[in-house]
Symmetry: C2
Subunit: 274 residues, 2 copies
Amino acid sequence: MSVSMLLNGHPPADRGRAIAADDRGLHYGDGLFETALLTGGRIRFLEDHLERLAAGCGRLGLPCPERAQLLKEIAMLTAGRGEGILKITLTRGSGGRGYRPTAGQAATRLLALHPAPEPPESPDVGIAVRWCSMRLGRNPALAGIKHLNRLEQVLAQGEWAAADIAEGLMLDTEGELVSATAGNLFLVREGQLITSDLRYCGIRGVMRGRVIVAAIEAGIEVEEQPLWTTDLEAADEVFITSAIRGIRPVARLDARKWPTGNVTRELAAVLKLW
Amino acid sequence: MSVSMLLNGHPPADRGRAIAADDRGLHYGDGLFETALLTGGRIRFLEDHLERLAAGCGRLGLPCPERAQLLKEIAMLTAGRGEGILKITLTRGSGGRGYRPTAGQAATRLLALHPAPEPPESPDVGIAVRWCSMRLGRNPALAGIKHLNRLEQVLAQGEWAAADIAEGLMLDTEGELVSATAGNLFLVREGQLITSDLRYCGIRGVMRGRVIVAAIEAGIEVEEQPLWTTDLEAADEVFITSAIRGIRPVARLDARKWPTGNVTRELAAVLKLW
């Protein structure tokens, strides 16, 4: 499957030349994105993605596309398709030179359907992860939302090429443990579920939110709090969440190993991921 | 004068549709830029801009365009033009979905010539500035270079619209005084020149570098150090530098006022700015 695309509601004639040279997404990362899984012909957790996009628009002062318009375009793009990845990219649109956003700019709305990743043969078999040297800068004003300033993640993923390492874990500049490069991190200790509170940096993942709700409904105690590497060392189970990859248990980080534990299994079952 | 443009060495047929929909500059801010002044038919401080661009490429692991190629394209773009602003934007080019940079990607190189700003009638008359609420996040790994992750500056400039306020001053998340939204900040106290050391954030401006060299050559003591708001309060002279605007004295911040002082005047004279 090749990539299908809608730019402001229309398929671009030439996707190699589709975006205005003065788009503020290009020049400043002035925008947001969402990455959602198309599975069985439906976008998984679509409402959550639209909600986060709207929240991000509020934080950045971007006009949020109308819900009906987005739903229509998603339907156009996914018609007759069973599996894939929907990426929505929203920028403040074309603007002159200079940082200042101009009121009334027409936003750029790019919807693209990418091939779905190969699902893991045995999703309950844990992955190996590593530490990233690249740290996440702290800025509460930008924390949580999925904005387009992602150089830290780009450079972090550039740190390794080994195919047997599936993810990298990132600390912030003060040494707090925040997340993986493209997913949130959960620890289980004595039956309690713990994840970073993301008050300074990181992205508030859609799957992260679903896991927290599922845990609470299952009677599992959940804590969003500052995490440190000592918390990881002390964890009985570790897993990474992403809207695309669901729940992936972490089996190994350097010499430390973890089993795929019961809490991880229960949450994956409740969310129908495995 | 309208905007002239070269994309990878060629004028785009349609600048409203010039950039690939999967450009990593758009999706992640994965790139760099330079903004230089064309004056009297020449790019001011061109070597400094090319040096900073190369340094940024080194930090981001981007292939740096060949110097001869850049010079050729700048000459094409500025031929017969006296005044303007040259903007060079460099991204890691087209890439698939996902943060990871792929080796051997062809970078996107966008050169644009914008109209020059109206020069101030009396450059020695100070400007009024204000505090920005938006803070700068700290990340030494990205500090100093002019990368494309500029949401903080965009949101900071979005905080005011009053035409009589020319700039905003930004603190970092820990309260250190870093810079203006689009320029570096210098303080003069008892004849000594002080500016932020930019070890955690901010951009190492080309004009900033020139001012420091000019000061040293003029026998003025220069300190690059952490700055705090108390340093600003205590300053005898305050000015902001930018490659485009040169040296602009700061006359007022809320109730605090400063004169255009002798050190500021001397530096502007040595650098032939006023």
